[in-house]
Symmetry: D3
Subunit: 62 residues, 6 copies
Amino acid sequence: MPYVTIKMLAGRTEEQKKALVEKVTEAVAETTGASKDKIVVFIEEMTKNHYAVGGKRLSDEQ
Amino acid sequence: MPYVTIKMLAGRTEEQKKALVEKVTEAVAETTGASKDKIVVFIEEMTKNHYAVGGKRLSDEQ
Amino acid sequence: MPYVTIKMLAGRTEEQKKALVEKVTEAVAETTGASKDKIVVFIEEMTKNHYAVGGKRLSDEQ
Amino acid sequence: MPYVTIKMLAGRTEEQKKALVEKVTEAVAETTGASKDKIVVFIEEMTKNHYAVGGKRLSDEQ
Amino acid sequence: MPYVTIKMLAGRTEEQKKALVEKVTEAVAETTGASKDKIVVFIEEMTKNHYAVGGKRLSDEQ
Amino acid sequence: MPYVTIKMLAGRTEEQKKALVEKVTEAVAETTGASKDKIVVFIEEMTKNHYAVGGKRLSDEQ
């Protein structure tokens, strides 16, 4: 606890994801007082045909 | 805002998904007063072996 | 199926929410071919101090 | 209703998943009084590079 | 791990919820082989005006 | 994008939550390259009777 879910488009490298969970975990620990080893992070990737803003999917934009 | 997540079985065509996000976005804008360009839609697909009703997965039905 | 979750700021009236689930359900049925009575809609409301864009909560804006 | 989502690492067999949804559905029916055929279970699998505890992804551990 | 989220209408007693998390945890441990003390359960309650089947909220039914 | 959901027990102060969303947003921007103003953070609070580890709710521990 806390449990953090990060939803984003696929395409980041493994190095970016590794840094992402490290830095987010530090930010949560520092501001909430939670013990770092209790913080859980989930990454959820989505594809451009499953994500729309304003009624238009990213895969339909040119 | 609002953020809409639509969870359904895989199998719809790209044309169906395109129409789905368009029509749902219009329905949300019309009824909530939210600006259309602020409405976000996520599609999440699931497979028949990961979805169960009444304790039975769809993949286990005959 | 499908299962639709609509996350938005608290503040809409019951009449708006009633219309929202009706219209969204129709939009989903029409575009996916799902039977209307199988479509489930969840509304999740959030408060301005629990929602941030660009690192700033809505409750902290003036 | 209820709707149960089980999030876990990929790797369980189909037999395990089949038993999982059966037993969880029974546990929910027995304790909540919900009719078994109204209980829905979703399985969501994650990979080791998308799951971190203590700021470290499982895929980065040796 | 696993992480189980149970979404249901408000109204169950504390005794029911206590039994629910116990029995579901046992069911998950038994079928997945996960260690019982690693299993996490979240309960999410919803109200009848935020839950609709077939385009109609439970609060709108008579 | 990205969309970050932070689920934690109720009890943090408004100052802690304000700092939490600021620092998490910075961590996400820095490591993913996403523009800061596109990053969205949701806080979801839970109560001790709706959160269990090892089959035991926090509200049932002494």
